[in-house]
Amino acid sequence: MSVDRSRELIDAVTASIESGKPLSIRGGNTKAFFGGPQTGEPLTMSGHSGMVSYEPTELVITARSGTLVTEIESTLKEQHQMLAFEPPCFGERATVGGTIGCGLSGPRRPYAGSVRDFVLGTRVVNGRGEDLRFGGQVMKNVAGYDVSRLMVGSMGTLGLLLEVSLKVLPAPRTECTLILEADRDGALEFQQRWSQRPSPISGTCHSGGLLHVRLSGSETGVASAKSKIGGDTLDDGDAFWTRLREHDHEFFKGTGRLWRLSIPQASPEPDLDGDSLMEWNGALRWVISDSPADRIRTAAAEAGGHATLFRNGGAETEAFHPLSGSLLKLHKKVKRAFDPKGVFNPGRMYRGL
């Protein structure tokens, strides 16, 4: 499905600038629960979709921002390629634009790279209604400031994304998932040991006394690692990692406040009340807890990271970890540089931004 709504979308931005009524940009609205509240006139990007170009031998795909992530993934799969950052969708109508805006990556992130690492270029409408292109379709490109990567995770507050060019990678030739029994310390120790040398590990998940380990790569490499690691083989490994990524894993059921702690991978488990699931070789800890936000954020900061109130937070607590004074000042200035009238998703990242 290939439809170019660029003209109409640029006009919507211009109208918003003139009227002073801000826009609430959304794709499939699958991440409405994430981040700050949506305020402003809804502007749906769905329908602005289709591949602008796809060159498997160039390892690059360019798509309109309203293209469904599932459509991109199935197109890549036909050529044995993939989005190596394994984005979560949280709904089948998830668009690539929303994925870029939220900056969320899945289980493969620490091994292959984050969503931002794979962005090569963007076409955006800025807060002056201008249709701009930054980056391009090649990885080695240092001309100008890296505005394209700045867009990633900006929650749509810096501009309206029309197109994005992403680097793609060959899909692994084979994968398998192993299950080991381990407590949290044991899992951390295993991860540490296996991080010291190159390995085909492409995903880890520790929860409820079980450590799941995914191996990806050549047949010989995977077989070799499998024989050294041991454990049981999970029959439908793919389904497990998809469930994990989409938060269909049983850990994520329930309505408790879900915290996302991003901390250095070797960090000992923070002392917090509540259940915890560990991912990303230890660099991501999901915690379901009613502890006060301050306590959780302090624990994350002391470990060298930060904590996001990911889901079920309620309106009073800000979703994202607060910024230092000087950093917040820079945020406001950069925001003004792209969106002087404040038309794009006000408050979607931080209050007042």
Binding site: E58, L158, A266
Partner: protein
């Protein structure tokens, strides 16, 4: 410069020297001509200017003092690491100071559990890998000047190197920066975790060429060293076949650690220099390296071999051992000095193009070379389409430099035309500043200026570099190497 301007520079220099001597140690402020000369240019030695003074602070507090002083007095600041840059990024401003980070050469901490290192900006790129080698770790981005270039400079340029197809650029290999902003504030960007809240200023700062802030600390990611590496060399009788072979390797789902190409003039020049055993009649040579565990490497080499066979290469050879692997690479790595032997001057271009355009672009460069009557030698990071055409000329011959610059401009415009960029890794600096006007339109350049304004409204950090004013869009930079006197001749260059 007029006599009046010369006098006022001298007065300004005296005043600034005096003021800064209050803040820094005696030997940390240089103001006499002889001491300033080594700082008059970076690796782009065609362009030289003396700064007002050179400052060599020892501590972050001193960096802040210098910056606050300059900010308070409207004095431009050009930060400098080792000065190996090839685009004039560290070229001084006459009424400005050089802020050298050379004394910031310590590795502050290595975290083996998290595989990161906290380093000062003046630490040499290779020194990082050397320091963690005994732990089985290394720092992946390996620009060709890595024995001399500094990590701070690498961040400023978003340096690449031979292995970025597989391991990424600098931006993919750092976690955190401490910067001093133009008003002297110390700001931490990023965290020790894999991501950080808010806007991705880490990505914005990387490759910002000293225009947004002064880097005073870098946290780099370290990787486990690959267990082994093997290289295969293939010769082709046709440049397009070689270009297609590159695409075929990628299409087969192989991600080599390194994938490099040389055309016939490059093969002849380098073979003459290092005697690596290249086929001097080949139209092009491909060097493809794979790394990993021994099983993975054997697997991959076999797959590369099958692809190359099918691609119609004349012959191919897998290096028998590590020594031969280094020999195969030695010619490619010595391309610049090899070319320096056969021409009084050469001009290096740093464009990136989609891989599929390689054959076409090479053919067009050959046509242009005939048209302009100038030899062109081509070496490429074929894996990521980053090409370095080297135009050979003699600056002593009337009009040759001008023709060279015109030919270079044509080649750069061709890069943009086929969907690429004017700079893959050397940066824009002052050298390619006007080609930014071809690659970006006025609205895009204005957006860049707005970003700059958020960080440095007074335009004191590295002015007249990287992003041209709309007013400036008519000038042209040039790089040439005169009679083999390349700055830092001992550094390997790609």
């Amino acid at each position: 410069m007029s006599v009046a301007e010369k006098i006022s520079i001298r007065e300004l220099r005296n005043r600034v020297e005096g003021d800064l001597r209050q803040k820094l140690a005696r030997e940390s402020v240089l103001a006499d001509e002889e001491s300033l000369r080594p700082y008059e240019c970076d690796g782009l030695s065609a362009y030289r200017r003396l700064p007002l003074v050179v400052t060599l602070p020892d501590t972050v507090e001193q960096v802040r003092d210098v910056v606050r002083y300059c900010h308070g007095n409207g004095i431009p600041i050009v930060a400098r690491g080792a000065g190996t840059g090839l685009s004039g990024g560290a070229l001084p401003i006459e009424e400005g100071v050089i802020l050298s980070l050379a004394k910031f050469n310590k590795i502050l901490d290595v975290d083996t559990g998290n595989r990161t290192a906290l380093v000062q900006p003046g630490v040499r790129n290779l020194a990082i890998s050397e320091a963690v080698s005994h732990l089985g770790l290394y720092y992946a981005p390996d620009p060709s000047s890595q024995i001399a270039c500094t990590i701070g400079g690498n961040v400023a340029e978003n340096a690449g190197g031979l292995h970025c197809l597989k391991y990424g650029l600098t931006v993919h290999n750092i976690l955190k920066l401490k910067i001093v902003t133009v008003d002297g504030e110390l700001v931490t960007i990023g965290l020790d975790s894999l991501d950080s809240p808010g806007y991705d200023f880490l990505a914005l700062m990387t490759g910002s060429e000293g225009l947004l802030g002064i880097i005073v600390e870098v946290t780099v990611r370290l990787l486990p060293k690959p267990e082994c590496a093997k290289v295969i060399m293939a010769s082709f009788d046709d440049v397009e076949k070689a270009g297609n072979a590159v695409s075929d390797i990628i299409a087969a789902g192989i991600l080599p650690g390194g994938l490099e190409m040389m055309d016939n003039p490059a093969i002849r020049a380098t073979e003459d220099f290092v005697h690596a055993g290249y086929d001097i009649d080949a139209a092009a040579i491909l060097l493809c390296e794979v790394d990993g565990t021994p099983e993975e490497v054997d697997d991959e080499i076999e797959r590369v071999r099958r692809v190359l066979e099918a691609s119609g290469c004349i012959q191919m050879q897998v290096a028998a051992d590590d020594e031969q692997r280094q020999l195969f690479w030695s010619g490619r790595k010595a391309a610049f000095p090899a070319v320096g032997r056969i021409s009084p001057d050469y001009y290096c271009i740093d464009g990136t193009i989609p891989r599929k355009a390689l054959g076409d672009v090479l053919n067009r460069i050959e046509d242009l070379s005939s048209e302009y009557g100038l030899r062109v030698v081509n070496v490429f990071h074929a894996g990521d389409g980053n090409l370095h055409p080297l135009i050979l000329y003699d600056g002593n011959i009337e009009g040759e430099l001008e023709r060279t610059e015109q030919l270079a401009g044509k080649i750069l415009e061709m890069c943009i035309e086929v969907g690429g960029t004017i700079t893959g890794e050397h940066g824009v600096g002052m050298e390619k500043i006007d080609h930014m006007c071809v690659q970006f339109n006025a609205a895009e350049l204005t957006q860049f200026h707005a970003v700059k304004e958020a960080f440095d409204p007074g335009r004191l950090l590295n002015p007249d570099k990287a992003v041209p004013t709309l007013h400036r869009c008519a000038e042209f930079g040039a790089m040439h190497v005169h009679k083999g006197q390349l700055k830092f001749p001992e550094i390997e260059r790609f």
